[in-house]
Subunit: 224 residues, 2 copies
Amino acid sequence: MQTATHLQIAPAETLRGYGSPAKRAPEAVALGSTQVFAKDEEIFAEGDRAGFFYKVVCGAVRTSKLLSDGRRQIDAFHLPGDIFGIEAGEEHRFSAEAVGGATVIAYRRCSLDDLAARDGTFSRQVVDAMLRSLERAQNHMLLLGRKTAMEKIATFLLDLSARLGDDTIELPMSRTDIADHLGLTIETVSRSLTQLERKHIIEVPAHRRSIVLCDKAALHRLDA
Amino acid sequence: MQTATHLQIAPAETLRGYGSPAKRAPEAVALGSTQVFAKDEEIFAEGDRAGFFYKVVCGAVRTSKLLSDGRRQIDAFHLPGDIFGIEAGEEHRFSAEAVGGATVIAYRRCSLDDLAARDGTFSRQVVDAMLRSLERAQNHMLLLGRKTAMEKIATFLLDLSARLGDDTIELPMSRTDIADHLGLTIETVSRSLTQLERKHIIEVPAHRRSIVLCDKAALHRLDA
DNA sequence: CGGGCCGTTGACTCTTGTCAATCGCGGTGG
DNA sequence: CCACCGCGATTGACAAGAGTCAACGGCCCG
């Protein structure tokens, strides 16, 4: 086995703008440069040249695809620690936007071959990220193709709670985002949550932006 | 850049059986061993130890996940040349079965780190396969979450025709498989095909196992 | 010739989507 | 400080796309 002593991933201090006036935090941290994006600000768009990939530091990021008539599918929400924006080809295959403000680290994309050829911690992390994306995508296909609205909501809440490590979920995203992630309409999301609330399985405080899971067992039962 | 002169992926001649009486073609081709599976025979199951991954030589393979009550989602059909069964963890995250007979090559899975650490053609091919799976999964999520039944069918037919490189599609899979892939019921698949037939957009010969795309432009119009 | 499997078709149901009104919080400006 | 405005969320009434259940048809194979 070879011994690569240094990761040779180029720092990405010389970031070109993305057409949006984001405040950039230019201190180059280790291998990438930190950037701050405002609520709903675009990080990259479908079809953009994939010069960088990213790791979420804080906040949340959504990656999505659009149909020609505007229907949207959010394939994933990325939380702190998650890596997104890795591509096989030269272009990004989906767009990424900050959900209510996010800080990310941008890594210059070296050739994927190069990356795959190294054996440092970081390359392992990237390959792992890819595989976890794939796994998540596969689970999500099962959800989208075969689960009912209520099952989708239950899965979503349990997953988010597990990822955040807390039974009280501060939702970073709007109902519209949730709907576009689960393949539902905003009305169906709202009605499902109301129903769960009435059964005392969850509690939704007045500002409606956080959800407390009171009865996880019941949620697991609802989740097929 | 290092120069790995040999791919060090272990041949997989010493295959343990998978609990099913498949005829095995034991000649070890290059890096893996060829295996033949009968119609609907299981190649591996969800939860099996992921000791191998596979490349389709001929025929077709479906990979799928099940819900506790039997609802099924086929995440992909794998055609000749496609690689499937690569996993991040120790277990297969979905099951794989031959669709009406398939020949595959099994590769012993070395540690993914090792694999990622090499720079040979084959490792590149594997990483590429992963990224293509991911891309396909993302497109499929858009389909499952946001397309109508007719749009799903149109997308499916165009995709299959493109992959097979032919406007006449010999369907390797049943209506049930198609339904479980597109998140529909067998009845809806059947009705959609009949409707396309009536509009002279496709032709479906009497045995119903092949489909001729007469009017691809119309299909593209139906596909959002 | 008969049985079974796969696919098609029809009638009906129902979950989810659509359209529209209202609520309520938060921010803004007088 | 308070009234107003606007956006996001909720709720209701209704529509419709897709699912369910059931019958039937045709093909293959014994």
